[in-house]
Symmetry: C2
Subunit: 265 residues, 2 copies
Amino acid sequence: MKHISSRSNPEYRQLLRLAEGRHGAQAVLEGLHLCQEWVAHYGAPRYALFDEALLARQQDGELGALFGALGAAACATCEPALMRALSPIGQDQGVCFLVDVPRPPRPERIDADCLWLDRVQDPGNVGTLLRTAAAAGVGQAYLSPGCAAAWSPKVLRSAQGAHFAMAIHEHVDLAAERARLAVPLLATSLQDGVSLYARALPGRCAWLFGNEGRGVDPALLQLADLRVFIPQAAGVESLNVSAAAAVCLFEQRRQRLAAHGVQVP
Amino acid sequence: MKHISSRSNPEYRQLLRLAEGRHGAQAVLEGLHLCQEWVAHYGAPRYALFDEALLARQQDGELGALFGALGAAACATCEPALMRALSPIGQDQGVCFLVDVPRPPRPERIDADCLWLDRVQDPGNVGTLLRTAAAAGVGQAYLSPGCAAAWSPKVLRSAQGAHFAMAIHEHVDLAAERARLAVPLLATSLQDGVSLYARALPGRCAWLFGNEGRGVDPALLQLADLRVFIPQAAGVESLNVSAAAAVCLFEQRRQRLAAHGVQVP
């Protein structure tokens, strides 16, 4: 098994570049939970790096089990200081994977609930939106160019594993994708629209949320089948995009539960 | 009018310390919007610092109007580089205030909607929670020790002005505060509780949300009149605390609107 003791090791430098937020076709996964999920869904990573000292201490634990499942030939170890340098919060997570970003096949026809994001820039927002959508039972996400990279470290951290509950499509031309939609497209809008609570929501739909400052692109907004607003108190700023999405997605979930006989007031 | 050209100026150093996240009885407000709101609600700040060049260019604009309202004797100017150094995102906001953190009088009896936060650590979460509560029409917040400082720069930025729509009480012993509550205390809980959608919510209540990782302190949870959970999809992580609060607060708002005759499905 290979042991890395220098920052100039090429595999380590690649992990570090990705951990620092650069991204592309590959991503770095930090920590036991994300790495376990990766193995469960996609099998072996391209590269696996373990903290030598932590691995020695946790040989009989989950870290040791993950190492054992991959096999020593597929893994490398390193010093704790090198592992800590990979973490944006300076915590030694014990294990890091280098992986190829999954590119799930684009469905010809989108007939399930899905999340559409138009230029949502903040990685924390993108991660929280994915986490909220997964919790609401939404299984697909479509991200326009200009959104934070879905497999970047900050998004992965905020999403808390939602990446493994959803098919995430990035760099999607949402206006063009509209033609594939077999469910209504709903957008939140401050300018016009109907109250979220004014009518029954579709059983299935695509929910479109926009940029933190500018909202949904006007041309895209015109393609929506329904524009809704969340009735809020007067004289205060509108909701953050993640909070707005939580309200919308769970209002739909509430209505769906009610339609299936779950008692609601 | 005083002009500051050095980082070693004592007033500037105090602003910088606060802008870097240290906090206490004073806070720094950055940018036109927050500073305007401060003047509208609390009058003159303890200290006001303007970017000299921006002020000269915007003499007839809102920045100039704010400067005029305070009077030259109460203001200082500085170089753009010094102003940029005060911003956590390196943007020159044009104006910074040093203010005394408002300490609103604690009501003897809490009979209105309120937000209770137990050790919510992340400043972005605390800010989003305040913003969401303000948007839902909640006018009071009670923060336990261990919460991010409400008037710290990151919380102010996430809250987008909610600080001026709410009375914010910090360092509150929530268990002791329970005795002042004249409305039911509702807490979100994963362990037990009833579905958020299973029954009518109280017309007014205190909503209690807990730490990102550990949730609400168990002893505090025991003091709740009702524990609710948000029914979510199986096999995924629970909602982020800010998203959970958005779902709860707006479900209560939906029920209230319905009770007042606003049509809901």
